[in-house]
């Protein structure tokens, strides 16, 4: 009988817990209206990254872009941006968006040790600054290598490459500025008999920010032109190479463009 005396309390507790959880989870849940970019849904997060790159393309402020990217705690944002550029290029997104992503990926990839040469380091982003998101550098930042407007790229070297590990054959392009630094975000047009395509340097940061490649079809002659270059390079065909076992395989091309 004494046990039954506690039954109403137990029933009350259970009903109360259910009611409390219903109120806390359904009727009036914790409202997250003060969220940070890191909590964004994956697609919004990618759009946010693209926006950071677009803003960087507008103002060229690399320390600020670094602070914005730091909000996502990505250990290698250059690779993330490079991969995103490739995805967006494949998805047919605007060229300006792809170039902006490649440009920022290149800027980050080429300067892995930041803040040398007089730049003021951005603050650690444990909390987002309430004022201007980043302090201005005390000295003008050294911009990542970009093509000098109007200065044409010229073909420096062009050579067939016989490497059995390079399959399928590729047009491998390297673009450098006049100081020898790799230049990301450069558009390259490739034309063949019944088609054409465009690709961009900097989309494979692991191979260098001035690097780009295009897969060749054996037997097809390609004409390649780097934007801001004076002349197209014609007659690029995957030439036959001999493997050690005597078999043939199609070879690649490596072309280097520089600003004189």
């Amino acid at each position: 009988m004494r046990r039954l005396a506690w039954l109403p309390v137990v029933v009350g507790v259970i009903v109360g817990i259910v009611a409390g959880l219903y109120y806390a989870w359904v009727v009036n849940p914790v409202a997250y209206t003060q969220t940070a970019p890191a909590s964004l849904r994956a697609d919004f997060r990618l759009d946010y990254l693209a926006l950071i790159a677009a803003a960087y393309a507008g103002d060229g402020d690399l320390p600020r872009a670094r602070v914005r990217l730091a909000l996502f705690a990505d250990p290698n944002p250059a690779d993330t941006l490079g991969a995103l550029a490739q995805q967006r290029l494949a998805a047919g997104r605007p060229v300006s968006e792809v170039q902006a992503l490649a440009l920022l990926a290149g800027a980050l990839g080429e300067r892995p040790t930041p803040f040398a040469g007089g730049e003021t380091p951005p603050p650690a982003v444990t909390a987002f600054p309430t004022r201007t998101p980043t302090p201005r550098p005390t000295a003008l930042p050294t911009r990542t290598a970009t093509a000098t407007p109007g200065a044409p790229f010229t073909l420096s070297t062009s050579q067939p490459v016989c490497d059995p590990d390079l399959a399928p054959p590729r047009l491998m392009v390297e673009v450098r500025d006049r100081s020898g630094r790799a230049v990301p975000g450069v558009e390259i047009l490739v034309v063949w008999d019944d088609g054409q395509s465009r690709f961009y340097t900097g989309l494979k940061p692991e191979l260098g920010m001035g690097y780009a490649d295009f897969t060749m079809e054996p037997g097809v002659a390609y004409t390649l032109q780097v934007s801001h270059s004076e002349e197209p390079i014609a007659g690029l065909v995957a030439e036959a190479c001999s493997a050690p076992d005597g078999s043939d395989y199609p070879g690649s091309w490596r072309l280097t463009f520089v600003q004189p």
Partner: protein
Amino acid sequence: MALRVSIGLVIGLAVGLIYGWVLRPVKYVDTSPDTLRQDFRADYVLMTAQAFSADEDLEVARIRLAALGPRPPVEIVVEAIEYAVAEDFSQRDLETLNRLAVALRSAPSAGVDGP
């Protein structure tokens, strides 16, 4: 009897609320930009304005601002400008934001006003 049930209810309610609000609250891991904190919202608008200053594509700017909610884009930019002024953003940032606001006011809206 009724008193015991009431005591149980109160205890249970308290436990439920503590568990639901404190120990294991609803987690919003897939949020959208319209839930961003005000400083992040202002920076989002500033980034949109900076991108606009490079590409001058007002339609893209409108699409980006639409992620911050259903309000007219110019209102969102004005709100960001007010925040920027209050928080002492740089003159350059204010000018960038203002250019976007002017462009949005000057251009016809993208089919949201109706005939």
